[in-house]
Amino acid sequence: MTDDQQLRVSKIKNGTVIDHIAGGQALNVLAILGIDGGSGDALSVAMNVPSDRLGKKDIVKIEGRELSQAEVDVLSLIAPAASINIVREYDVVEKHRVERPEVVEGVLECPNHNCISTKDEPVESRFAVTDDGVRCEYCETIIRDDLPAHILVE
């Protein structure tokens, strides 16, 4: 991040900084991580800041929480260019790019209302991740566009 961008969102002591989210997707990133600010932890969001790589990008800083690999995998669905910075005592101790997982479970709701995964059965939704979208492993419905609209909200 540039100094200018750091000014927009203050440094965190411990937690995660998600950088290089495509402009406008930060709130969807928070939704997919189940973060709504209700836990009381500090949260900073910068949206549509200039980026050499993306034109415009969003940045999310989450105080007091280090993302798990599973969460990072899921992030890749809507923020494939994102980088994850794990911060401890104000220093970045880990930095890595997201990678698309093969399968995501319990994250997206199948848009097919006749899919068994949308009913009151003891299973979580499960989608295979394809090159250009995701595919329900129960009914095989393919979602290519507007993935955030299908994020399951607890």
């Binding site: 006749n114 899919c115 299973v123 595919r135 009914c139 095989e140 393919i142």
Partner: protein, 305 residues
């Protein structure tokens, strides 16, 4: 067969298909030789929506192998009516039967149910999804009448919601058939099936008019255009009439064209076609018994004789 559960035609390789069809041919040649094959076996029938042919042919197949059936009965008379989940139902019936056959109105139901049971589970139709055993008997009928070599097949009717079509289209990629899909634009193949056919490199063409392709076909597979899918009755009437065949229609076809239909039909094939050599749909329905006998025998641990 390597598969414990038969969920989708996509899981069946060419070798799997040939194994079932060859075994079915052996059984059809001498069914009595298999009459005590599975005399201690119980097949659980879980049909959550009406079915005549599929249910009866599974029951017949099991009984002709010497076994018996336990039938959940209608949804109205079962614990499903009390709100029991599908996952619970299959787990309970698993304790009664050696294998399960499931027909359910929701897509993905067989896949989900199979995750909760250890006995083999066969998908007998899951909503608009898949119907793999119908496909096996379809393939048996095609192989008997037209062969698999350089096969050109037209599949006509409701391609969007027709589970028999979805299963058949997947399976036909294993025999490198030339597939022509004929339907109103509103009832074309769903995106997921197109995706798979594309991934398989299948030779696929789409048409709205049967006349464009009829003379080139070895097999014409007709399905019912489902009136209940149309929001407007007049829209249904507009397209339904275009997809009816009679003996006049077939004048343009090859003399040895095989006409098939998974049944039930309504008015998409005129009864006068029944009397022609083209009509194979009743033979197709009858093939359900030896094919399902073969499949059950294989998944229950029988070795081809």
């Amino acid at each position: 067969m390597r598969h414990d559960h038969i969920i989708s035609a996509k899981q069946l390789s060419r070798a799997d298909i040939e194994e079932v069809l060859d075994h079915a041919a052996t059984i059809a040649a001498d069914p009595t030789a298999f009459a005590d094959r599975h005399s201690d076996t119980l097949l659980g029938l879980l049909f959550f929506e009406p079915s005549t042919r599929t249910k009866m042919s599974f029951a017949t197949a099991m009984k002709r192998l010497g076994g018996d059936i336990v039938d959940m009965g209608s949804v109205e008379s079962s614990s499903v009516k009390k709100g029991e989940s599908l996952a619970d139902t299959v787990r309970v019936v698993e304790g009664y039967a050696d294998a399960l056959v499931l027909r359910h109105p929701m897509e993905g139901s067989a896949k989900m149910a199979s995750e909760f049971v250890d006995v083999p589970l066969v998908n007998a139709g899951d909503g608009a999804g898949q119907h793999p055993t119908q496909t096996l008997l379809d393939l048996y009928t095609i192989r008997e009448n037209a062969g698999f070599d350089d096969l050109t097949i037209g599949i006509m009717g409701d391609l969007k919601y027709g589970r028999t079509v979805h299963s058949l289209a997947h399976a036909l990629t294993t025999v490198d058939a030339h597939q022509h899909f004929i339907s109103p634009e509103s009832l074309q193949l769903p995106r997921s099936v197109r995706y798979d056919l594309h991934e398989q490199g299948a030779d696929v063409r789409e048409h709205t008019d049967l006349d464009e392709i009829l003379p080139a076909l070895d097999v014409l597979y007709v399905t019912r255009i489902q009136r209940e899918r149309f929001p407007d009755e007049s829209e249904y009437r507009e397209v339904a009439g275009q997809y009816q065949i009679d003996t006049g229609t077939l004048d343009a076809a090859k003399d040895d064209l095989t006409v098939m239909h998974p049944l039930p039909r309504v008015d998409e094939i005129a009864h006068e076609v029944d009397r022609t050599d083209h009509a194979k749909y009743f033979e197709q329905a009858h093939n359900g018994v030896p094919v399902r006998m073969a499949l059950l025998d294989l998944i229950l641990g029988g070795e081809p004789r």
